[in-house]
Protein backbone atom coordinates (compact mmCIF):
# COMPACT_ATOMS: atom_id res chain seq x y z
CA UNK A 1 0.00 0.00 0.00
CA UNK A 2 2.93 2.30 0.68
CA UNK A 3 4.10 1.90 -2.89
CA UNK A 4 0.59 2.53 -4.17
CA UNK A 5 0.36 5.75 -2.12
CA UNK A 6 3.69 6.92 -3.44
CA UNK A 7 2.65 6.21 -7.01
CA UNK A 8 -0.55 8.16 -6.51
CA UNK A 9 1.31 11.09 -5.00
CA UNK A 10 3.64 11.16 -7.98
CA UNK A 11 0.63 11.16 -10.27
CA UNK A 12 -0.61 14.32 -8.58
CA UNK A 13 2.31 16.35 -9.84
CA UNK A 14 1.32 16.44 -13.53
CA UNK A 15 -2.28 17.18 -12.56
CA UNK A 16 -1.26 20.17 -10.45
CA UNK A 17 1.16 21.33 -13.11
CA UNK A 18 -1.64 21.21 -15.66
CA UNK A 19 -3.83 23.19 -13.29
CA UNK A 20 -1.25 25.98 -13.11
CA UNK A 21 -0.91 26.04 -16.89
CA UNK A 22 -4.67 26.28 -17.36
CA UNK A 23 -5.14 29.02 -14.76
CA UNK A 24 -2.18 30.97 -16.02
CA UNK A 25 -3.36 30.84 -19.62
CA UNK A 26 -6.94 31.69 -18.72
CA UNK A 27 -5.88 34.67 -16.64
CA UNK A 28 -3.93 35.99 -19.61
CA UNK A 29 -6.87 35.46 -21.96
CA UNK A 30 -9.36 37.23 -19.72
CA UNK A 31 -10.17 40.70 -21.02
CA UNK A 32 -8.98 43.42 -18.69
CA UNK A 33 -5.60 44.94 -18.16
CA UNK A 34 -4.20 44.30 -14.69
CA UNK A 35 -1.73 47.16 -15.02
CA UNK A 36 -4.50 49.63 -15.70
CA UNK A 37 -6.70 48.28 -12.95
CA UNK A 38 -3.83 48.43 -10.50
CA UNK A 39 -2.81 51.92 -11.47
CA UNK A 40 -6.05 53.22 -10.03
CA UNK A 41 -8.71 55.63 -11.19
CA UNK A 42 -7.51 58.06 -13.88
CA UNK A 43 -3.85 57.10 -13.52
CA UNK A 44 -1.51 58.58 -16.13
CA UNK A 45 -0.13 56.31 -18.82
CA UNK A 46 3.49 56.39 -17.57
CA UNK A 47 2.31 54.93 -14.33
CA UNK A 48 0.35 52.17 -16.02
CA UNK A 49 3.43 51.32 -18.07
CA UNK A 50 5.66 51.37 -15.00
CA UNK A 51 3.37 48.87 -13.29
CA UNK A 52 3.27 46.70 -16.38
CA UNK A 53 7.04 46.56 -16.37
CA UNK A 54 7.29 45.94 -12.65
CA UNK A 55 4.96 42.94 -12.91
CA UNK A 56 6.62 41.47 -16.02
CA UNK A 57 3.34 41.95 -17.84
CA UNK A 58 5.21 43.35 -20.83
CA UNK A 59 6.98 40.03 -21.37
CA UNK A 60 5.64 37.17 -23.54
CA UNK A 61 3.36 34.78 -21.72
CA UNK A 62 5.85 31.90 -21.94
CA UNK A 63 8.45 34.00 -20.15
CA UNK A 64 5.89 35.01 -17.55
CA UNK A 65 4.91 31.40 -16.99
CA UNK A 66 8.48 30.27 -16.73
CA UNK A 67 9.09 33.01 -14.21
CA UNK A 68 6.08 31.86 -12.21
CA UNK A 69 6.95 28.19 -12.46
CA UNK A 70 10.55 28.62 -11.43
CA UNK A 71 9.32 30.55 -8.41
CA UNK A 72 6.83 27.80 -7.68
CA UNK A 73 9.53 25.13 -7.74
CA UNK A 74 11.38 27.10 -5.09
CA UNK A 75 8.16 27.20 -3.07
CA UNK A 76 7.51 30.83 -3.94
CA UNK A 77 3.94 31.62 -4.98
CA UNK A 78 4.81 35.19 -5.92
CA UNK A 79 3.41 38.45 -4.65
CA UNK A 80 -0.13 39.71 -4.77
CA UNK A 81 -0.43 42.49 -7.33
CA UNK A 82 -2.79 44.39 -5.09
CA UNK A 83 -1.46 44.08 -1.59
CA UNK A 84 2.19 43.36 -2.47
CA UNK A 85 2.18 40.69 0.21
CA UNK A 86 3.54 37.24 -0.60
CA UNK A 87 0.68 35.10 -1.85
CA UNK A 88 1.68 32.38 0.60
CA UNK A 89 1.16 34.86 3.43
CA UNK A 90 -2.26 35.88 2.12
CA UNK A 91 -3.30 32.26 1.86
CA UNK A 92 -1.86 31.37 5.27
CA UNK A 93 -3.95 34.12 6.84
CA UNK A 94 -7.18 32.77 5.39
CA UNK A 95 -6.78 29.06 4.81
CA UNK A 96 -7.23 28.00 8.45
CA UNK A 97 -10.66 29.62 8.33
CA UNK A 98 -11.54 27.66 5.22
CA UNK A 99 -10.40 24.43 6.84
CA UNK A 100 -12.32 25.18 10.02
CA UNK A 101 -15.50 25.90 8.12
CA UNK A 102 -15.04 22.80 5.95
CA UNK A 103 -14.52 20.54 8.95
CA UNK A 104 -17.52 21.77 10.89
CA UNK A 105 -19.69 21.69 7.76
CA UNK A 106 -18.70 18.16 6.91
CA UNK A 107 -19.41 17.05 10.50
CA UNK A 108 -22.89 18.53 10.29
CA UNK A 109 -23.37 16.90 6.90
CA UNK A 110 -22.19 13.51 8.16
CA UNK A 111 -24.50 13.55 11.16
CA UNK A 112 -27.50 14.74 9.18
CA UNK A 113 -26.72 12.79 6.04
CA UNK A 114 -26.00 9.41 7.58
CA UNK A 115 -28.82 9.91 10.08
CA UNK A 116 -31.49 10.68 7.53
CA UNK A 117 -30.01 8.14 5.13
CA UNK A 118 -30.30 5.31 7.65
CA UNK A 119 -33.76 6.34 8.74
CA UNK A 120 -35.16 6.58 5.27
CA UNK A 121 -33.56 3.29 4.24
CA UNK A 122 -34.93 1.38 7.19
CA UNK A 123 -38.37 2.88 6.69
CA UNK A 124 -38.29 2.84 2.89
CA UNK A 125 -41.53 4.03 1.40
CA UNK A 126 -42.99 5.33 4.66
CA UNK A 127 -43.88 8.97 5.21
CA UNK A 128 -40.82 9.14 7.38
CA UNK A 129 -38.71 8.22 4.37
CA UNK A 130 -40.47 10.93 2.40
CA UNK A 131 -39.96 13.64 5.00
CA UNK A 132 -36.35 12.84 5.76
CA UNK A 133 -35.51 12.74 2.07
CA UNK A 134 -37.14 16.12 1.56
CA UNK A 135 -35.20 17.57 4.48
CA UNK A 136 -31.95 16.07 3.28
CA UNK A 137 -32.56 17.67 -0.11
CA UNK A 138 -32.92 21.16 1.30
CA UNK A 139 -29.30 21.95 0.61
CA UNK A 140 -29.51 21.20 -3.11
CA UNK A 141 -32.92 22.72 -3.74
CA UNK A 142 -32.60 26.15 -2.18
CA UNK A 143 -29.99 28.47 -3.73
CA UNK A 144 -27.17 28.75 -1.21
CA UNK A 145 -27.10 32.51 -0.87
CA UNK A 146 -30.83 32.65 -0.34
CA UNK A 147 -30.66 29.93 2.28
CA UNK A 148 -27.79 31.72 4.00
CA UNK A 149 -29.52 35.08 4.04
CA UNK A 150 -32.73 33.51 5.33
CA UNK A 151 -30.95 31.61 8.10
CA UNK A 152 -29.13 34.78 9.07
CA UNK A 153 -32.35 36.74 9.06
CA UNK A 154 -34.13 34.19 11.25
CA UNK A 155 -31.43 33.16 13.70
CA UNK A 156 -29.44 36.37 13.98
CA UNK A 157 -31.83 39.23 13.35
CA UNK A 158 -35.21 37.89 14.39
CA UNK A 159 -34.27 35.48 17.18
CA UNK A 160 -30.98 37.08 18.15
CA UNK A 161 -29.47 33.67 18.88
CA UNK A 162 -26.41 33.71 16.67
CA UNK A 163 -24.02 36.35 15.40
CA UNK A 164 -23.76 37.56 11.80
CA UNK A 165 -20.13 38.52 12.07
CA UNK A 166 -16.95 36.48 12.09
CA UNK A 167 -15.08 37.22 15.29
CA UNK A 168 -13.42 33.87 15.89
CA UNK A 169 -15.75 32.74 18.65
CA UNK A 170 -17.16 29.21 18.25
CA UNK A 171 -20.72 30.29 17.64
CA UNK A 172 -19.95 32.36 14.53
CA UNK A 173 -19.39 29.16 12.64
CA UNK A 174 -22.81 27.64 13.24
CA UNK A 175 -24.78 29.45 10.55
CA UNK A 176 -22.21 29.33 7.75
CA UNK A 177 -21.34 25.72 8.51
CA UNK A 178 -24.98 24.75 8.54
CA UNK A 179 -25.67 26.51 5.24
CA UNK A 180 -22.69 24.84 3.66
CA UNK A 181 -23.21 21.47 5.34
CA UNK A 182 -26.80 21.13 4.13
CA UNK A 183 -25.53 20.92 0.59
CA UNK A 184 -23.24 17.99 1.33
CA UNK A 185 -25.93 16.38 3.46
CA UNK A 186 -27.95 15.57 0.36
CA UNK A 187 -25.19 13.62 -1.30
CA UNK A 188 -24.25 11.75 1.85
CA UNK A 189 -27.88 10.90 2.62
CA UNK A 190 -28.47 9.73 -0.93
CA UNK A 191 -25.47 7.42 -0.89
CA UNK A 192 -26.19 6.12 2.61
CA UNK A 193 -29.76 5.34 1.72
CA UNK A 194 -29.07 3.48 -1.48
CA UNK A 195 -26.16 1.48 -0.04
CA UNK A 196 -28.19 0.58 3.02
CA UNK A 197 -31.11 -0.53 0.89
CA UNK A 198 -28.82 -2.69 -1.14
CA UNK A 199 -27.25 -4.28 1.91
CA UNK A 200 -30.47 -4.74 3.83
CA UNK A 201 -31.71 -7.01 1.07
CA UNK A 202 -28.66 -9.27 1.12
CA UNK A 203 -28.97 -12.82 2.28
CA UNK A 204 -26.65 -12.51 5.21
CA UNK A 205 -28.69 -9.65 6.62
CA UNK A 206 -31.82 -11.73 6.25
CA UNK A 207 -30.03 -14.54 8.00
CA UNK A 208 -28.97 -12.27 10.77
CA UNK A 209 -32.52 -11.07 11.18
CA UNK A 210 -33.80 -14.61 11.13
CA UNK A 211 -31.36 -15.48 13.87
CA UNK A 212 -33.19 -12.98 15.99
CA UNK A 213 -30.47 -10.38 16.16
CA UNK A 214 -31.99 -7.05 17.08
CA UNK A 215 -32.77 -4.68 14.23
CA UNK A 216 -30.50 -2.00 15.64
CA UNK A 217 -27.49 -4.29 15.52
CA UNK A 218 -28.41 -5.49 12.04
CA UNK A 219 -28.61 -1.93 10.82
CA UNK A 220 -25.54 -0.60 12.53
CA UNK A 221 -23.22 -3.55 12.46
CA UNK A 222 -24.00 -5.18 9.18
CA UNK A 223 -25.71 -2.72 6.95
CA UNK A 224 -23.88 0.43 7.91
CA UNK A 225 -20.52 -1.30 8.03
CA UNK A 226 -20.98 -2.45 4.47
CA UNK A 227 -22.31 0.86 3.25
CA UNK A 228 -19.43 2.73 4.83
CA UNK A 229 -16.82 2.56 2.04
CA UNK A 230 -19.14 4.21 -0.45
CA UNK A 231 -20.29 6.80 2.07
CA UNK A 232 -16.68 7.61 2.86
CA UNK A 233 -16.07 8.22 -0.84
CA UNK A 234 -18.89 10.72 -0.99
CA UNK A 235 -17.78 12.41 2.21
CA UNK A 236 -14.30 12.66 0.75
CA UNK A 237 -15.52 14.22 -2.47
CA UNK A 238 -17.54 16.75 -0.51
CA UNK A 239 -14.66 17.49 1.81
CA UNK A 240 -12.40 18.02 -1.18
CA UNK A 241 -14.67 20.62 -2.66
CA UNK A 242 -15.29 22.31 0.70
CA UNK A 243 -11.54 22.70 1.15
CA UNK A 244 -11.46 24.65 -2.10
CA UNK A 245 -13.28 27.50 -0.41
CA UNK A 246 -16.96 28.32 -0.22
CA UNK A 247 -17.35 31.41 -2.31
CA UNK A 248 -21.00 32.14 -1.67
CA UNK A 249 -21.18 31.25 1.99
CA UNK A 250 -18.01 33.24 2.64
CA UNK A 251 -19.53 36.21 0.88
CA UNK A 252 -22.89 36.08 2.68
CA UNK A 253 -21.42 35.48 6.13
CA UNK A 254 -18.34 37.67 5.62
CA UNK A 255 -16.22 34.61 6.39
CA UNK A 256 -12.53 35.28 5.74
CA UNK A 257 -11.67 32.16 3.75
CA UNK A 258 -9.89 31.63 0.45
CA UNK A 259 -13.03 31.32 -1.69
CA UNK A 260 -13.82 35.00 -1.54
CA UNK A 261 -10.16 35.85 -1.99
CA UNK A 262 -10.19 33.81 -5.19
CA UNK A 263 -13.20 35.63 -6.64
CA UNK A 264 -11.85 39.03 -5.75
CA UNK A 265 -8.51 38.14 -7.25
CA UNK A 266 -10.24 37.20 -10.51
CA UNK A 267 -12.20 40.45 -10.45
CA UNK A 268 -9.05 42.51 -9.92
CA UNK A 269 -6.92 40.40 -12.27
CA UNK A 270 -4.55 39.62 -9.42
CA UNK A 271 -3.00 36.71 -11.32
CA UNK A 272 -0.58 35.37 -8.70
CA UNK A 273 -3.35 35.21 -6.11
CA UNK A 274 -5.70 33.41 -8.50
CA UNK A 275 -2.99 30.89 -9.38
CA UNK A 276 -1.98 30.42 -5.75
CA UNK A 277 -5.48 29.89 -4.40
CA UNK A 278 -6.48 27.55 -7.20
CA UNK A 279 -3.35 25.55 -6.63
CA UNK A 280 -4.13 25.22 -2.94
CA UNK A 281 -7.74 24.27 -3.63
CA UNK A 282 -6.74 21.72 -6.26
CA UNK A 283 -4.05 20.21 -4.02
CA UNK A 284 -6.51 19.89 -1.17
CA UNK A 285 -8.97 18.15 -3.45
CA UNK A 286 -6.55 15.64 -4.92
CA UNK A 287 -4.97 14.90 -1.57
CA UNK A 288 -8.34 14.27 0.05
CA UNK A 289 -9.22 11.98 -2.86
CA UNK A 290 -6.02 10.06 -2.29
CA UNK A 291 -6.77 9.70 1.42
CA UNK A 292 -10.25 8.47 0.58
CA UNK A 293 -8.88 5.84 -1.76
CA UNK A 294 -6.50 4.63 0.90
CA UNK A 295 -9.24 4.62 3.52
CA UNK A 296 -11.37 2.60 1.15
CA UNK A 297 -8.80 -0.14 1.34
CA UNK A 298 -8.84 -0.08 5.10
CA UNK A 299 -12.61 -0.17 5.28
CA UNK A 300 -13.13 -2.72 2.57
CA UNK A 301 -10.58 -5.53 2.86
CA UNK A 302 -11.78 -7.08 -0.40
CA UNK A 303 -9.96 -4.38 -2.32
CA UNK A 304 -6.27 -4.69 -2.78
CA UNK A 305 -3.91 -2.24 -4.36
CA UNK A 306 -1.19 -2.97 -6.75
Amino acid sequence: MGAYALKRILQLIPVLLAVTIVVFTVMKVIPGDPARMLAGELAPLEQVEAIRKELFLDKPIIVQYWHYLSGLLRGDLGYSYRSKRPVSEEIAARYPNTVKLALVSICIAIVLGIGTGILSATKQGSWFDTVSRLVSMLGVTVPTFWLGLMLMLIFAVRLGLLPTMYTGSPKDIILPAFTLGLNSTTFIARMTRSCMLEVLRQDYVRTARAKGISERIVVLKHALRNALPNVVTVVGLQMGSLLGGAIIVESVFAWPGIGLMMVEAVAFRDHPVVCGTVLVAASALVIVNLIVDLLYAVLDPRISYR
Binding site: V22, S194, I248, M262
Partner: protein, 279 residues
Protein backbone atom coordinates in the same frame (compact mmCIF):
# COMPACT_ATOMS: atom_id res chain seq x y z
CA UNK B 1 -36.07 -6.08 -20.29
CA UNK B 2 -39.37 -4.98 -18.94
CA UNK B 3 -41.85 -3.13 -21.11
CA UNK B 4 -42.22 0.61 -21.06
CA UNK B 5 -45.67 0.25 -19.55
CA UNK B 6 -44.43 -1.99 -16.83
CA UNK B 7 -41.85 0.64 -16.03
CA UNK B 8 -44.51 3.35 -15.91
CA UNK B 9 -46.60 1.22 -13.59
CA UNK B 10 -43.70 0.88 -11.22
CA UNK B 11 -42.96 4.58 -11.54
CA UNK B 12 -46.53 5.43 -10.59
CA UNK B 13 -46.10 3.54 -7.34
CA UNK B 14 -43.11 5.65 -6.33
CA UNK B 15 -44.74 8.59 -4.59
CA UNK B 16 -41.75 10.94 -4.68
CA UNK B 17 -40.91 10.22 -8.29
CA UNK B 18 -44.50 10.90 -9.28
CA UNK B 19 -44.49 14.18 -7.37
CA UNK B 20 -41.22 15.11 -9.05
CA UNK B 21 -42.51 14.26 -12.51
CA UNK B 22 -45.69 16.20 -11.83
CA UNK B 23 -43.79 19.28 -10.68
CA UNK B 24 -41.54 19.20 -13.71
CA UNK B 25 -44.55 18.75 -16.00
CA UNK B 26 -46.39 21.67 -14.41
CA UNK B 27 -43.37 23.95 -14.74
CA UNK B 28 -43.02 23.04 -18.41
CA UNK B 29 -46.71 23.67 -19.06
CA UNK B 30 -46.61 27.01 -17.26
CA UNK B 31 -43.60 28.03 -19.30
CA UNK B 32 -45.42 27.12 -22.48
CA UNK B 33 -48.61 29.00 -21.70
CA UNK B 34 -46.96 32.05 -20.10
CA UNK B 35 -48.22 34.56 -22.71
CA UNK B 36 -51.81 33.40 -22.17
CA UNK B 37 -51.68 33.68 -18.40
CA UNK B 38 -50.08 37.07 -18.14
CA UNK B 39 -51.06 40.25 -19.89
CA UNK B 40 -47.74 41.98 -19.23
CA UNK B 41 -44.44 41.86 -21.03
CA UNK B 42 -41.68 40.37 -18.88
CA UNK B 43 -39.30 43.23 -19.62
CA UNK B 44 -41.75 46.14 -19.65
CA UNK B 45 -40.65 48.67 -17.04
CA UNK B 46 -42.76 51.19 -15.23
CA UNK B 47 -40.73 53.06 -12.64
CA UNK B 48 -43.82 54.67 -11.15
CA UNK B 49 -45.27 51.32 -10.06
CA UNK B 50 -42.03 50.05 -8.58
CA UNK B 51 -41.98 47.48 -5.75
CA UNK B 52 -45.76 47.23 -5.42
CA UNK B 53 -46.86 44.50 -3.04
CA UNK B 54 -49.04 41.68 -4.43
CA UNK B 55 -52.47 42.96 -5.44
CA UNK B 56 -55.21 42.10 -7.91
CA UNK B 57 -53.34 43.66 -10.85
CA UNK B 58 -50.03 42.08 -9.90
CA UNK B 59 -50.69 38.84 -7.98
CA UNK B 60 -46.96 38.46 -7.20
CA UNK B 61 -46.32 42.22 -6.91
CA UNK B 62 -43.84 44.21 -8.99
CA UNK B 63 -40.05 44.35 -8.87
CA UNK B 64 -37.53 47.17 -8.56
CA UNK B 65 -38.16 48.30 -12.14
CA UNK B 66 -41.92 48.09 -11.82
CA UNK B 67 -42.14 44.85 -13.80
CA UNK B 68 -44.79 42.28 -13.00
CA UNK B 69 -43.17 39.51 -10.95
CA UNK B 70 -45.71 36.85 -11.94
CA UNK B 71 -45.03 37.48 -15.61
CA UNK B 72 -41.32 37.36 -15.04
CA UNK B 73 -41.53 34.12 -13.08
CA UNK B 74 -43.62 32.52 -15.84
CA UNK B 75 -41.37 33.65 -18.68
CA UNK B 76 -38.41 32.90 -16.45
CA UNK B 77 -39.40 29.23 -16.53
CA UNK B 78 -38.71 29.22 -20.26
CA UNK B 79 -35.34 30.83 -19.91
CA UNK B 80 -34.16 28.99 -16.81
CA UNK B 81 -35.26 25.61 -18.10
CA UNK B 82 -33.91 26.06 -21.60
CA UNK B 83 -30.66 27.45 -20.24
CA UNK B 84 -30.20 24.46 -17.95
CA UNK B 85 -31.32 22.06 -20.65
CA UNK B 86 -29.08 23.65 -23.25
CA UNK B 87 -26.03 23.45 -21.04
CA UNK B 88 -26.72 19.93 -19.86
CA UNK B 89 -27.47 18.62 -23.36
CA UNK B 90 -24.31 20.11 -24.85
CA UNK B 91 -22.11 19.07 -21.95
CA UNK B 92 -23.89 15.75 -21.53
CA UNK B 93 -23.49 14.82 -25.20
CA UNK B 94 -19.80 15.65 -25.26
CA UNK B 95 -19.25 13.96 -21.93
CA UNK B 96 -21.16 10.86 -22.98
CA UNK B 97 -19.27 10.47 -26.24
CA UNK B 98 -15.94 10.97 -24.50
CA UNK B 99 -16.88 8.55 -21.75
CA UNK B 100 -18.14 6.00 -24.26
CA UNK B 101 -15.07 6.10 -26.46
CA UNK B 102 -12.70 6.16 -23.51
CA UNK B 103 -14.46 3.35 -21.71
CA UNK B 104 -15.02 1.16 -24.74
CA UNK B 105 -11.82 1.85 -26.59
CA UNK B 106 -9.55 2.11 -23.58
CA UNK B 107 -5.88 2.55 -24.31
CA UNK B 108 -4.11 5.84 -24.68
CA UNK B 109 -7.23 7.87 -25.45
CA UNK B 110 -8.75 6.63 -22.23
CA UNK B 111 -5.80 7.49 -20.06
CA UNK B 112 -5.31 10.91 -21.65
CA UNK B 113 -8.95 11.98 -21.41
CA UNK B 114 -9.26 10.75 -17.88
CA UNK B 115 -6.17 12.76 -16.87
CA UNK B 116 -7.78 15.80 -18.49
CA UNK B 117 -10.93 15.14 -16.49
CA UNK B 118 -8.81 14.86 -13.35
CA UNK B 119 -7.50 18.33 -14.02
CA UNK B 120 -10.99 19.67 -14.71
CA UNK B 121 -12.31 18.13 -11.52
CA UNK B 122 -9.41 19.47 -9.49
CA UNK B 123 -10.68 23.01 -10.09
CA UNK B 124 -13.19 24.36 -7.62
CA UNK B 125 -16.26 24.04 -9.82
CA UNK B 126 -17.69 27.50 -9.31
CA UNK B 127 -14.33 29.11 -9.95
CA UNK B 128 -14.16 27.21 -13.23
CA UNK B 129 -17.49 28.79 -14.23
CA UNK B 130 -16.33 32.22 -13.07
CA UNK B 131 -13.23 32.01 -15.22
CA UNK B 132 -15.17 30.84 -18.27
CA UNK B 133 -17.70 33.64 -17.95
CA UNK B 134 -15.07 36.27 -17.27
CA UNK B 135 -13.40 35.25 -20.52
CA UNK B 136 -16.61 35.14 -22.55
CA UNK B 137 -18.36 38.09 -20.92
CA UNK B 138 -21.48 37.66 -18.79
CA UNK B 139 -24.73 36.63 -20.44
CA UNK B 140 -27.05 33.73 -21.04
CA UNK B 141 -24.85 32.03 -23.64
CA UNK B 142 -21.82 32.14 -21.38
CA UNK B 143 -23.81 30.52 -18.58
CA UNK B 144 -24.82 27.76 -20.98
CA UNK B 145 -21.17 27.21 -21.91
CA UNK B 146 -20.17 27.19 -18.25
CA UNK B 147 -22.86 24.63 -17.41
CA UNK B 148 -21.81 22.51 -20.39
CA UNK B 149 -18.19 22.48 -19.32
CA UNK B 150 -19.25 21.74 -15.76
CA UNK B 151 -21.19 18.70 -17.07
CA UNK B 152 -18.52 17.16 -19.29
CA UNK B 153 -16.33 15.49 -16.66
CA UNK B 154 -19.32 14.31 -14.65
CA UNK B 155 -20.92 12.61 -17.65
CA UNK B 156 -17.74 11.20 -19.06
CA UNK B 157 -16.83 9.59 -15.76
CA UNK B 158 -20.28 8.16 -15.19
CA UNK B 159 -20.62 6.82 -18.72
CA UNK B 160 -17.10 5.42 -18.74
CA UNK B 161 -17.84 3.58 -15.51
CA UNK B 162 -21.03 2.09 -16.97
CA UNK B 163 -19.35 1.19 -20.26
CA UNK B 164 -16.49 -0.62 -18.54
CA UNK B 165 -18.94 -3.13 -17.09
CA UNK B 166 -21.22 -3.23 -20.15
CA UNK B 167 -18.49 -4.08 -22.62
CA UNK B 168 -17.85 -7.37 -20.88
CA UNK B 169 -21.49 -8.39 -21.41
CA UNK B 170 -22.42 -11.35 -23.57
CA UNK B 171 -24.41 -9.41 -26.11
CA UNK B 172 -21.35 -7.39 -27.02
CA UNK B 173 -19.51 -10.61 -27.74
CA UNK B 174 -22.52 -11.82 -29.69
CA UNK B 175 -22.63 -8.64 -31.80
CA UNK B 176 -18.96 -8.97 -32.52
CA UNK B 177 -19.44 -12.61 -33.51
CA UNK B 178 -21.99 -11.65 -36.15
CA UNK B 179 -19.51 -9.17 -37.61
CA UNK B 180 -20.68 -5.79 -36.34
CA UNK B 181 -18.05 -3.05 -36.42
CA UNK B 182 -16.69 -1.77 -33.13
CA UNK B 183 -18.20 1.69 -33.73
CA UNK B 184 -21.54 0.06 -34.47
CA UNK B 185 -21.39 -1.97 -31.27
CA UNK B 186 -20.41 1.07 -29.28
CA UNK B 187 -23.30 3.22 -30.41
CA UNK B 188 -25.97 0.60 -31.16
CA UNK B 189 -25.44 -1.79 -28.29
CA UNK B 190 -23.46 -0.23 -25.52
CA UNK B 191 -24.82 3.33 -25.62
CA UNK B 192 -28.52 2.40 -25.35
CA UNK B 193 -27.73 0.39 -22.25
CA UNK B 194 -26.20 3.38 -20.51
CA UNK B 195 -29.53 5.18 -20.94
CA UNK B 196 -30.85 4.49 -17.43
CA UNK B 197 -27.71 6.01 -15.93
CA UNK B 198 -27.92 8.94 -18.32
CA UNK B 199 -31.54 9.71 -17.53
CA UNK B 200 -30.91 9.80 -13.80
CA UNK B 201 -27.76 11.83 -14.26
CA UNK B 202 -29.52 14.32 -16.52
CA UNK B 203 -32.34 14.99 -14.16
CA UNK B 204 -29.92 15.62 -11.29
CA UNK B 205 -27.63 17.71 -13.48
CA UNK B 206 -30.51 19.89 -14.61
CA UNK B 207 -31.20 20.60 -10.98
CA UNK B 208 -27.55 21.48 -10.28
CA UNK B 209 -27.40 23.58 -13.43
CA UNK B 210 -30.22 25.79 -12.19
CA UNK B 211 -28.45 26.28 -8.88
CA UNK B 212 -25.14 26.99 -10.58
CA UNK B 213 -26.91 29.63 -12.66
CA UNK B 214 -28.27 31.29 -9.56
CA UNK B 215 -24.89 31.18 -7.84
CA UNK B 216 -23.32 32.82 -10.85
CA UNK B 217 -25.96 35.52 -10.79
CA UNK B 218 -25.14 36.11 -7.15
CA UNK B 219 -21.57 36.93 -8.17
CA UNK B 220 -22.92 39.11 -10.98
CA UNK B 221 -21.90 36.75 -13.76
CA UNK B 222 -25.20 35.07 -14.56
CA UNK B 223 -27.91 36.00 -17.02
CA UNK B 224 -28.07 39.76 -17.34
CA UNK B 225 -30.96 42.06 -16.58
CA UNK B 226 -33.57 42.61 -17.85
CA UNK B 227 -33.65 38.90 -18.87
CA UNK B 228 -36.18 37.21 -16.60
CA UNK B 229 -33.99 34.30 -15.57
CA UNK B 230 -34.90 32.99 -12.12
CA UNK B 231 -31.40 32.99 -10.72
CA UNK B 232 -30.76 36.52 -11.94
CA UNK B 233 -34.10 37.66 -10.54
CA UNK B 234 -33.37 36.11 -7.19
CA UNK B 235 -29.88 37.56 -7.07
CA UNK B 236 -30.94 41.10 -7.92
CA UNK B 237 -33.88 40.89 -5.54
CA UNK B 238 -31.67 40.27 -2.54
CA UNK B 239 -31.34 44.03 -2.17
CA UNK B 240 -35.07 44.11 -1.43
CA UNK B 241 -35.19 41.00 0.71
CA UNK B 242 -36.39 43.02 3.67
CA UNK B 243 -38.27 45.92 2.12
CA UNK B 244 -40.10 44.01 -0.62
CA UNK B 245 -39.85 40.29 0.13
CA UNK B 246 -42.22 39.28 -2.69
CA UNK B 247 -39.60 40.20 -5.28
CA UNK B 248 -37.32 37.46 -4.03
CA UNK B 249 -39.80 34.95 -2.60
CA UNK B 250 -41.47 34.05 -5.89
CA UNK B 251 -38.40 33.45 -8.05
CA UNK B 252 -36.83 31.72 -5.05
CA UNK B 253 -39.81 29.39 -4.73
CA UNK B 254 -39.81 28.82 -8.48
CA UNK B 255 -36.19 27.66 -8.38
CA UNK B 256 -36.64 25.62 -5.23
CA UNK B 257 -39.76 23.85 -6.46
CA UNK B 258 -38.37 23.08 -9.91
CA UNK B 259 -35.06 21.88 -8.54
CA UNK B 260 -36.88 19.78 -5.97
CA UNK B 261 -39.03 18.29 -8.74
CA UNK B 262 -35.97 17.38 -10.79
CA UNK B 263 -34.19 15.89 -7.80
CA UNK B 264 -37.20 13.83 -6.76
CA UNK B 265 -37.62 12.60 -10.30
CA UNK B 266 -33.95 11.74 -10.56
CA UNK B 267 -33.87 9.95 -7.22
CA UNK B 268 -37.09 8.12 -7.99
CA UNK B 269 -35.85 6.97 -11.37
CA UNK B 270 -32.65 5.77 -9.81
CA UNK B 271 -34.59 3.69 -7.32
CA UNK B 272 -36.53 2.14 -10.16
CA UNK B 273 -33.73 1.63 -12.61
CA UNK B 274 -31.29 0.19 -10.13
CA UNK B 275 -32.26 -3.47 -9.91
CA UNK B 276 -30.49 -3.81 -6.56
CA UNK B 277 -32.89 -1.35 -4.98
CA UNK B 278 -36.11 -2.94 -6.18
CA UNK B 279 -38.62 -3.49 -3.46
Amino acid sequence: MESFFGFCRRLSRNRLAVTGALIVAIVIVLAAVAPWISRYQPEAMSLASRLKPPCADHPFGTDEMGRDVLTRVLYGARISLSMALGGVIIGGTIGTVVGLVAGYGGGRFDSITMRIMDVALAFPSILQSILIITVLGPGLQSVVVAIAIFCIPVYSRTVRGAVLSLKEMEYVEAARAIGRTETGIMFRHVLPNTLPVLIVQTSLMLASAMLVASSLSFIGLGAQPPTPEWGAMLASSRAYLRTAPWVSVFPGLAITISVLGLNLLGDGLRDLLDPRLKQ
